[in-house]
């Protein structure tokens, strides 16, 4: 299924876009749309609950390379960020840190990228006072966007680099925000395309292989990319290259990334001298514990 097919169905049937996505899901998987909707609502509630619970908290993470960044940002009065961005960023970082300390997260679309969607979702709910039903529609649209990437490319950092994980999460979050404000599937496509293009080529380079550095802060910056791209799309800016083509391009870029930049902790920042020293120290600490 391509995004342009979804768009065509929505134009020819005049159905609300989240309904189009649920109907298409039924065609592909045979799953009852009402059940899928209910399950997605549950997932969305877990996201909001965890965002609320973990907002700006300090965490004792598995490697202690992160853990207090969400707290720092939430305690700071932003110099230039809007309240919406600030809240979204705190949540995105806090969820990344909660993940790294074995908290409960939603792998939306993956564990490493688990902060971007809740960041945008929580900001919509608490800053924009979005209702549950309106949020859910936008959340379903975001899931549909993620599904297009899953079907036509990959969501795995090991296969496609971080552009596939955090890149997809960003496209999803941007679509969610855009749909919430515009109810316009065409704008959603633009937001998704512009976001994914912004993070095209992003490599997967976790220090020591652990989902902390750069993952946690990358979630924080990515949610701002999502917001900025949504703002562009809402203003009527169009992506010259349509979303489906961007997804194909992302897939091809992922395939041409060397293995050292696909979750192997060999290249990128994981390959730096400082990263290697840090990992060395962590291992020593563990060895002395055992």
């Amino acid at each position: 299924m391509t995004f342009s097919e979804l768009l065509e169905i929505s134009i020819s049937t005049n159905l609300e876009f989240s309904e189009v996505i649920l109907a298409q899901e039924m065609m592909e998987t045979g799953r009852d749309p009402q059940k899928v909707k209910k399950a997605l609502r549950k997932i969305m509630h877990v996201m909001l609950e965890e965002a609320e619970k973990n907002y700006g908290k300090e965490f004792n993470t598995l490697t202690n390379l992160t853990g207090n960044n969400g707290a720092k940002l939430s305690n700071a009065v932003p110099y230039m960020m809007s309240e919406f961005n600030h809240v979204a960023t705190v949540v995105a970082i806090s969820m990344g840190e909660s993940n790294a300390s074995m908290g409960r997260i939603v792998a939306c679309p993956t564990a490493g990228s688990c902060g971007v969607m809740p960041g945008a979702l929580y900001a919509l709910k608490y800053i924009k006072k979005a209702s549950d039903d309106e949020l859910l529609k936008s959340f379903i649209v975001a899931s549909g966007i993620g599904n297009v990437v899953a079907k036509r490319a990959t969501l795995s950092g090991a296969a496609g680099g971080c552009q596939a994980e955090i890149g997809t999460a960003t496209a999803m979050a941007s679509s969610m925000i855009t749909y919430y404000f515009s109810r316009d599937p065409v704008k959603v496509g633009n937001a998704a395309a512009i976001s994914l293009k912004s993070l095209m080529g992003l490599v997967c380079d976790p220090v020591g292989g652990f989902v902390e550095v750069p993952c946690v802060k990358r979630n924080g910056s990515a949610v701002n990319v999502a917001i900025a791209c949504a703002e562009m799309a809402l203003a009527g800016i169009e992506s010259v290259i349509p979303f489906d083509d961007v997804v194909n391009a992302m897939y091809n870029v992922g395939k041409s990334l060397p293995e050292s930049l696909r979750e192997t902790a060999i290249g990128g920042i994981a390959g730096t001298k400082s990263a290697q020293e840090i990992v060395e120290k962590i291992r020593e600490k563990w060895d002395s514990k055992n």
């Binding site: 996505i21 649920l22 899901e25 592909e28 998987t29 799953r31 059940k35 899928v36 399950a39 997605l40 997932i43 877990v46 598995l62 490697t63 909660s98 993940n99 790294a100 300390s101 074995m102 908290g103 409960r104 997260i105 939603v106 792998a107 939306c108 679309p109 993956t110 564990a111 490493g112 688990c114 969607m117 959340f139 379903i140 975001a142 899931s143 549909g144 993620g146 599904n147 899953a150 079907k151 969501l155 795995s156 090991a158 296969a159 020591g208 292989g209 652990f210 989902v211 902390e212 962590i282 563990w286």
Partner: protein, 220 residues
């Protein structure tokens, strides 16, 4: 893959392959035989390299204790294992030409002993690759019946005759030629009812019977 797999699952972090997948493999042991008294985990490849920083150890223990992937208890599984009196040990080992994220779990409970080998193949998906030395390929997304049976002509037919549901895959191998014992693994499309299990238990050729049930909500 569908919307729910893209926007989910709800899980305990930090890694779908090293935490969630590990838990699911270990949970297969629990589903097979309940909580064992003693377990030994042999970690292969990337599982042995980075397990501590991904909480793989806690996820494995959580799994054999029967915890679900989104249970807040996963983080505290060491303490909870103590409450159950579960004895555990970890070692690194070379399991041969297998997926980099592979674990072999040896589990003891009363006079039962089982060995389960499984791989975490990415995105939280798993494959159970060996049960008591018999190669198989179970996804854990379907129910399965594992039978230790006498290796006699007609034994398999008797077993299959008891089953009234669709059979997805059958794996079978002699595990002890001297005693004439074989292991039969049957992956099913759907859960079976008690009548089927009673039918199987009644068979003379069936020595041990395990039913790995698919729980409500595991798919949808």
């Amino acid at each position: 893959m569908g919307l729910l797999e893209v926007s989910g699952p709800v899980m305990i972090g930090p890694s779908s392959s090293h935490t969630l997948g590990a838990l699911k493999i270990a949970r297969f042991v629990y589903k097979l035989m309940g909580i064992p008294q003693r377990v030994n985990f042999v970690l292969h490849g990337s599982f042995s390299m980075t397990y501590y920083g991904h909480g793989t150890d806690r996820a494995l223990i959580a799994g054999v204790l029967g915890m679900k992937p989104d249970s807040f208890d996963v983080k505290d599984s060491y303490e909870i294992a103590k409450m159950y009196g579960l004895m555990y040990s970890f070692e690194s080992g070379d399991l041969g030409d297998v997926h980099p994220n592979t674990v072999l779990i040896k589990a003891w409970k009363d006079d039962l002993y089982n060995e389960i080998e499984g791989s975490s193949i990415g995105g939280g998906a798993i494959k159970i690759t060996k049960i008591n030395g018999v190669e198989c390929s179970l996804t854990g997304d379907f129910p399965a019946i594992v039978i230790v049976n006498k290796d006699k002509p007609g034994a398999l037919k008797e077993i299959l005759d008891c089953l009234s549901v669709n059979i997805a895959n059958v794996y079978l191998r002699r595990i002890n030629a001297l005693e004439g014992i074989a292991l039969t693994i049957i992956e099913l499309d759907e859960n079976v009812d008690d009548e089927v299990l009673r039918c199987l238990k009644r068979l003379d050729n069936v020595v041990e019977l395990y039913f790995v049930k698919l729980e409500e909500g595991e798919l949808l």
